[in-house]
Symmetry: C2
Subunit: 336 residues, 2 copies
Amino acid sequence: MATMDKKNVSMNDVAIAAGVSLKTVSRVINEPDSVRESTRDKVHSAMEALGFRANFAARSLKLGRYGCIGVVLFHLSGGAVDMIDGIADAAEERGFALTMIKKRAGEKMTLAEAARRMSQLPVDGMIFNLRQMVDDFDTFEAPKDLKTVIITPMEHPACSTVSDDQEGGARMACEYFLNRGHKNVYFVSGKKEALSSQCRMKGWRAALEARGIEPPEPLQGDWNADSGYAAGLVLADKPDCTAVLAANDCMANGVMMALRDKGLSVPDDVSVIGFDDELYKTIPNSILTSMKFRHRELGIRALNEVVAGLEAPSSRSRTLVSGVLVERSSVKDLRS
Amino acid sequence: MATMDKKNVSMNDVAIAAGVSLKTVSRVINEPDSVRESTRDKVHSAMEALGFRANFAARSLKLGRYGCIGVVLFHLSGGAVDMIDGIADAAEERGFALTMIKKRAGEKMTLAEAARRMSQLPVDGMIFNLRQMVDDFDTFEAPKDLKTVIITPMEHPACSTVSDDQEGGARMACEYFLNRGHKNVYFVSGKKEALSSQCRMKGWRAALEARGIEPPEPLQGDWNADSGYAAGLVLADKPDCTAVLAANDCMANGVMMALRDKGLSVPDDVSVIGFDDELYKTIPNSILTSMKFRHRELGIRALNEVVAGLEAPSSRSRTLVSGVLVERSSVKDLRS
DNA sequence: TTGCGAAATGACAACGTTGTCATTTCGTTA
DNA sequence: TAACGAAATGACAACGTTGTCATTTCGCAA
């Protein structure tokens, strides 16, 4: 190549090449209608010829905003894909990009630490994705000039939060059993630390207690099928067990397999409901009824909440995204 | 509040409050050792009191770099979580943040378009995650000053690429059958557009042809269990079918269920291998042997490749991350 | 042609940092 | 105490944009 490639082509270079002033180039970019067509063309050709690209840093410095929303991933789990997808789509639509950081593996990151790091990056607002408890949750104060939204089932004293209605969903699923004549519902939990497991358990308890039923001891699982299977083996021996609510579909499948291996039929002997509605992907002709949360919608709401709050960072709101019970045939109606 | 909250606290404000010069504040941040401890303390208290946070835009403008790597998500699939996780961890470790944009749903984004949008954002280099073909793949030219890495199984004439060794993995899996006395291997594919499905099919074909075996017609699936089940029903009727390679675990499970429903046993009558090794999460006591790709490692490699190439954006390399066959008991050794 | 208001363009400062180079202060030694 | 070199600090320009306000050019009517 004969051309000396200058490291960066600035608007000034373009201006000189086009024989206009710096400000005119700026105008071509930001308010094209205010510049004569002939001038505009000259500038455009010059930009083309030089390979001009606007400098993000200079622009944001002048404008005082970045057009980016920060996302902190405290825990990156399976369901997070759809949520990120929602966040990214909504951001795209509103003309924002995302700036992302992640908790280091093993590190114990607090909200304050996350906020500190984020606020050094190009962001106008931020979203925390929090699926487990952190030490400083209640005492955390968000930067006054940076709208902060936390995705978490817990209410926060100062920040806006967005969440699936995990507790409500669990309650609904549980009531679905009770409304069909089941006298009791057993529960298989996920990992202890997971807030979603805790909330689902809470909803299950609440639904039973609302009908004056003493909740049986929940069975501890770890989200995977094998732990569900172990729980299923235990439950198969309980004569009063007609209904099982498992905190996710994988464990629900484990439970079903154990029941089958013990000679019991689903739903004829025992009814089962799971969460997340993803078993159909893996099991042909799946019969599992499942409470599904709309993670994508959750992400969209979270992003919209941040954008809406950009001008009033200290505003506070609480959004719950309801779940949907996907009905299949794993629940028997005992009344009929 | 009595305090007038100025919108943004600058280093100048800190300097005045601490009774030192602007430059000294800068030094406290960037080269603390070069300033006397007593001065440093004064500055630190001032920063604390005023709530100073360095301005990203100004800093990057001066430094000419952002400390961010761009990630373009063309397709956000399930396996992408682990990959993003790897990218994010590696970025974290090397002191980079991620800037992310996503193809709009329905929009047909080209590499050129993605590059154009990314280069307006705060990034020093970028990673494209490409799981399907795009129109301008072969003709695409990356910005000369922005290191670009494409995650895709295809080789690119100009850019560095990183990929799982899908083809090699499929070949290995296929040879695993052949080495155990199987005379032929059937293949159940994923969605047609997916490059990973195409590559896995290619590897399967290559392995058979290398032994002079004519590959049978592949069965078309869509990644989900039901399509695997349908394929399984067909395969159950083929007397020469002793080995099935399914392009993912879900379909493999579908195949196994169909075979069972047809009265055939896995592995006694038919052997099966899947991909991704995730069935154990959903199926208790899973017996499925599966070719697993290290998505996390893939992400790490991609990020490292970008960072390594920051100084020489036009360098080009090709990285393949090999897969691992996770052995369980779904393959019968016909020689014994 | 001249004059006028509107449209188009330009000159210059400012955004908040860091690099360069000059100046001040410090601790030592003569 | 004076003189010195090293360490600490400061003044000022520069990074590449956009906002403000002044100036030039244009189209049109007189």
